[in-house]
């Protein structure tokens, strides 16, 4: 038994999607996180940095945004600005999870 593992164990698996919330300061340092510790920290760092850059660029464009959402096919990233930092919600869009309603009343 276990021969499948022997055959395919060395191949890269599909990367998991992050679930949870991270809070970052203005320097994109992660202050708090509820994302599984198994999820690569460097990817969370990239998310934090990119989100802060988006918010910063919006301010530079004189269109400051209090909230921003990135709607990917299988992941929804929503971020709210917090005094230069941000709280970032990561929610995979799978068939098993209810899809959040993007339209507001």
């Amino acid at each position: 038994m276990g021969f499948l593992k022997k055959l395919f164990g060395g191949l890269a698996a599909v990367q998991q999607l992050p679930v949870g919330t991270i809070t970052v300061d203005r320097n994109a340092r992660i202050i708090a996180s509820t994302v599984s510790s198994g999820y690569p920290r460097n990817l969370l760092q990239i998310i934090a940095r990119d989100i802060l850059e988006l918010l910063h660029e919006a301010r530079v464009a004189q269109m400051p945004l209090a909230e921003i959402s990135l709607h990917f096919g299988s992941l929804l990233i929503t971020a709210r600005e917090l005094r230069g930092g941000a709280i970032i919600f990561l929610l995979p869009q799978t068939a098993l999870l209810p899809t959040p309603n993007t339209s507001r009343p």
Binding site: I47, A61, P64, A66, E67, S69, H71, G73, T102
Partner: protein, 358 residues
């Protein structure tokens, strides 16, 4: 009676306002200094205090400096305007001058050479005294159609007096709606159509006449569309005018789509170096187009790294509006919506973008 000139400083930074107040207090003519930290208060002061000179910042929340300058240039053509900004981008300088400002000065320069700055202000105030009773100044590089649209979008109440040589026409606007028109001996819709055929001229804003008789019932957008069609039909199909009116018609059609859906603005941004961004409903085209490109690029890069699937769209919001960024072909489209917009905005934005792109 106090005959001193009145200067208004508009800046969202209250510390900066205090600093400017102190600096301008040293002017030899001893002007009366007013300050405002938002455009609404500034407009109220200009209306009530007979301000002679406005010193305005560019980067401000809600109504930015360029919007403010466009408004005062229309409503108060005799007002002298100075831009005092921290933005060193040459584009802002040229856009400010295109709006007819008298002086563009960097905040850092002002601190370094305050004496020279004060001399410039004294000179402007002197000119303002001389020019007070002669002539009108207006917006540069704006067509009549642009001016009418701007007045309607800002829900102005005014009388636009347009002259072209010996010809004089008037448009009565009330809360952004066209109430009446008078041109070439005609009134109402006919006058409006004749007026739109004018290719050049000058205009000025006169005080609103709220009790003026209403002769026009149709919306401005509908009238603009009809007028463009009429101009098109009358024009020589092979002449250059037909190209101009066709582009006008296209623009009006896009505007009517925008207002029908209830969106604030739409901006189409091609890839870098492949043409200029196109927009309706916003004046901050370059800066927002830059953000659109960057946001699109950052989101795609992030999606690839996370293996999160294709990017459907990016949405954002602040207290004033909601924005939705989506791609179609190689262009990025940013659609602005009021915060109280209802319905499925991604879907509505997609429809708008599809109709724009077609």
């Amino acid at each position: 009676m106090d005959k001193r000139n009145k200067i208004l400083i508009l800046d969202d930074d209250t510390d900066w306002l205090a600093l400017c107040r102190d600096l301008l207090g040293t002017l030899a003519s001893r002007p009366e200094i007013f300050t405002a930290n938002n455009a609404r208060r500034a407009l109220a002061l200009i209306e009530t205090e007979k301000i002679r000179l406005l010193i305005c910042d560019l980067k401000m929340p809600r109504i930015d400096g360029l919007q403010m300058l466009a408004i005062v240039r229309r409503r108060f053509p005799e007002l002298r305007t100075v831009v005092l900004s921290g933005l060193e981008d040459e584009e802002f300088r040229s856009r400010a001058y295109a709006l007819g400002v008298d002086l563009f000065w960097l905040k850092t320069e002002m601190q370094r050479s305050s004496k020279l700055f004060n001399e410039c202000l004294e000179s402007l105030l002197g000119q303002a005294d001389r020019d007070l009773d002669s002539g009108f100044r207006g917006i540069q590089s704006k067509s009549l159609m642009d001016i009418i649209q701007m007045e309607c979008l800002s829900r102005s109440s005014t009388v636009l007096r347009i002259s072209r040589g010996p010809l004089v026409a008037k448009l009565w606007l009330l809360d952004g709606e066209l109430v009446d028109a008078e041109a070439e001996g005609a009134r109402g819709e006919v006058a409006f159509q004749r007026l739109l055929a004018w290719k050049s001229g000058t205009f000025e804003n006169l005080p609103a006449e709220p009790k003026h008789e209403r002769t026009i019932q149709k919306s401005v957008n509908a009238l603009l569309l009809e007028s463009a069609q009429s101009i098109d039909e009358n024009a020589n199909p092979a002449g250059p005018d037909s190209v101009e009116s066709a582009s006008h018609r296209k623009m009006i059609w896009k505007l009517s789509q925008l207002t029908r859906e209830g969106a604030d603005f739409i901006l189409a941004t091609p890839p870098e170096g492949q043409g200029e961004p196109e927009a309706i409903g916003t004046q901050s085209v370059a800066s927002i187009a830059h953000w659109s490109r960057r946001a699109d690029e950052i989101a795609h890069r992030l999606g690839d790294k996370l293996e999160a699937g294709p990017l459907a769209h990016i949405s954002g919001q602040n207290l004033e509006r909601r924005v939705l960024l989506l791609s179609r072909g190689d262009k990025a489209f940013l659609v602005g919506w009021p915060t109280d917009a209802t319905g499925n905005l991604p879907e509505k934005s997609r429809k708008l973008v599809a109709s724009w792109d077609s």
